[in-house]
Symmetry: C2
Subunit: 374 residues, 2 copies
DNA sequence: TTGTAGGCGTTATCAA
DNA sequence: TTGATAACGCCTACAA
């Protein structure tokens, strides 16, 4: 310990600050020959500072690698600069879903860009009491300014609390009955457009491997699939729908089952790209060709889709935009806490590549237009 | 200004607090007929409070659902009560690993229990500059008290910064050359013991499906596998080692390759349970029986292993303990910042079930004993 | 055991 | 454009 060894015997157990000593506004102000207020203005990009003063202050700040103390700031400004990222407990076994990771990453990115920090909110017990404890500590203690809920599951007690207390919150993915703001894509319309594309390729026996039951997005995609078939006058064969859980391996198994059908499908729509990969493997293993023997369409538009063999056609979600929107909507809501809930639907994109039967991908079709109801 | 609405015309755009009004120490103190200090003591479980005063104060606190303001607390106490949870960016494609989720969950749980909050640290660019920006903002701004790094990858710039600045940090999983504290299991010894168990069952041709290259744990497990073979005088056949990435699907493919070998193995050791599941499917699909035609041993000890068919024998990691230890080690380090780095190795457990050839699991063998070197 | 008073590092309000 | 000067809500010697 001790640290900067010089004379003296033992510096009275003072925390040996690593790099430079920790400074505060006062000291920076003194060194720059201005008042604390001016330094504060520089830090907060306030316009009312003369160029000279600003540069002088900035120089001192840089030189000493000064960073304002977060606690003091939020105490005075009543803003923590921290957003909560809520991951429902029950989501864990859907974790294998690559899209989930992407959305979390994009939210992280967007927060970083907005200069906000993210606090992970995961309730331990899934119980109402546990949720309340966490909620009280974190929200009651004014630890954060708002919350983003990822992949909301019905019945999540924390979401209920957010709504009840009208605490600033944004859901990524719509919720059937809780009145909170959300960003989402129109899963139903997107799925329908995708299946219609398969129909346009001449397919009549189109199978679907669905997403995890209980997730709203999964239900919506299934509905879109049905609607497309019905609209095209194609009779619905229940044997052609197999439910999955967004994981690759499950889809592999389900695809094998589909292939073993007396009258197998000629095309399959998977509720996620990860599942599409599993299905493709099963098709390959069965010695069949994609798309000639079996067309495949995915959902999500993760990067790997483009590099699959053959390249996977898919319905792309605007992941980055979803994350960015979630953050900016939340920030807006924090500033205007009394505004009514906002719902924002972002457009998906049908990325046509080889697996659906389109040759080396010509263009990309935009499906659902951007709408802002409510 | 104004504030507590009385006469006046329209309360000047004052934020409509949802439930009850927000209170502070002062008000609680007044209501309880004591001083702020006493209330503070009650909040912080200070012994120097008379039972009467305590209960009186507590009653007022409960009645008004009072929660101390985090910012004010940390400003005064110089503790934020926030721990950073660092997830290396490059980890994303290992995300499919169920164990990763478990460890994150256990850390979350442990923090909750310790009354600490978790801030998610994920650097966007993977660049040194990006890392420094994040580091400066978060650590420089005194946003958190310490950091836990999950599944550390070599080359992660943030880890380097933590070490350079001697900021309180704990790695979950050892790091080859960075001098920071860590908790881990002894992957080498555990793997070796597992493979030795397979050998004890009479197997000589034992295959391994390894973990993601680049992860230290994966390398260690492979080394353990080799050592067991060598020690038993079994010649090493390179064809029997296939590298995986901790994901189920990959293991499925690799297992098929192993089965297609001119001289297939009679047992397979998988570097993760998720991969063991994939291997088991491949074995089943090939019409073979487990463990009669092929014995299988996993690693991790996730819950699903016990419910697989047949129940999967596996080397269990003490996930919950790992998380709890990480948190408590970090808390200790925060209190004693000048103590030297600590390394803690937790014991694994060989859970013997059906898949390795043991009948309905008799007992459990503890492998590596708890050691505390350095 | 209790209370008093000063301080933690910023922001924000007013004057100047 | 600048600078005093209050807050902000809590912790912590120190005194009683």
């Amino acid at each position: 310990m001790s640290g900067n060894g010089n004379g003296e015997t033992a510096p009275p157990a003072r925390r040996s600050v690593p790099g430079r000593a920790r400074m505060n506004l006062e000291q920076i102000a003194r060194l720059a020959g201005v008042s604390r207020s001016t330094v504060s203005r520089v830090i907060n990009d306030d316009a009312r500072v003369s160029p000279e003063a600003r540069s002088r202050v900035q120089a001192v700040i840089d030189e000493h690698n000064y960073h304002p103390n977060a606690a003091a700031r939020s105490l005075a400004s009543r803003r923590t600069g921290i957003l909560g990222l809520m991951i429902p407990r029950s989501i864990e076994w859907v974790f294998g879903d690559l899209f989930f990771q992407l959305i979390i990453k994009s939210i992280t990115l967007a927060s970083n860009d907005a200069g906000q920090n993210l606090m992970l909110l995961m309730e331990s017990a899934g119980s109402r009491e546990g949720a309340e404890r966490l909620f009280n500590r974190v929200v009651g203690g004014r630890h954060l300014d708002g919350v983003i809920v990822v992949s909301n599951v019905i019945e999540e007690p924390l979401v209920q609390l957010l709504a009840e207390h009208q605490f600033p919150a944004i859901l990524v993915g719509r919720h059937p009955f809780i009145d909170l703001s959300f960003v989402d894509v129109d899963n139903r319309i997107a799925a329908r457009a995708g299946v219609e594309h398969l129909i346009a390729h001449g397919h009549r026996r189109i199978a679907m491997i669905g997403g995890a039951t209980g997730l709203i997005a999964a239900v919506d995609r299934q509905v879109g699939y049905h609607q497309a078939l019905v609209a095209a006058g194609i009779p619905i064969d229940p044997a052609l729908f197999r439910s999955g859980d967004f994981r690759e391996m499950t889809a592999y198994t389900q695809m094998r089952a589909l292939l073993a059908l007396p009258e197998p499908p000629t095309a399959v729509f998977c509720a996620s790209d990860a599942m599409a990969f599993g299905a493709m493997r099963a098709i390959h293993d069965a010695g069949l060709a994609i798309p000639d023997d079996m067309a495949v369409l995915g959902f999500d538009g993760i990067e790997q889709a483009a590099h699959a063999s053959p390249p996977l056609s898919t319905i792309a979600q605007p992941v980055d935009l979803l994350g960015r929107e979630a953050v900016s909507m939340l920030l807006r809501r924090i500033d205007l806490p009394d505004a009514p809930p906002m719902h924002r639907i972002l457009p998906t994109e049908l990325q046509l590549r080889v697996s659906c039967g389109c040759q080396p991908a010509p263009a990309a079709l935009s499906i659902s237009e951007e709408v802002t109801p409510v």
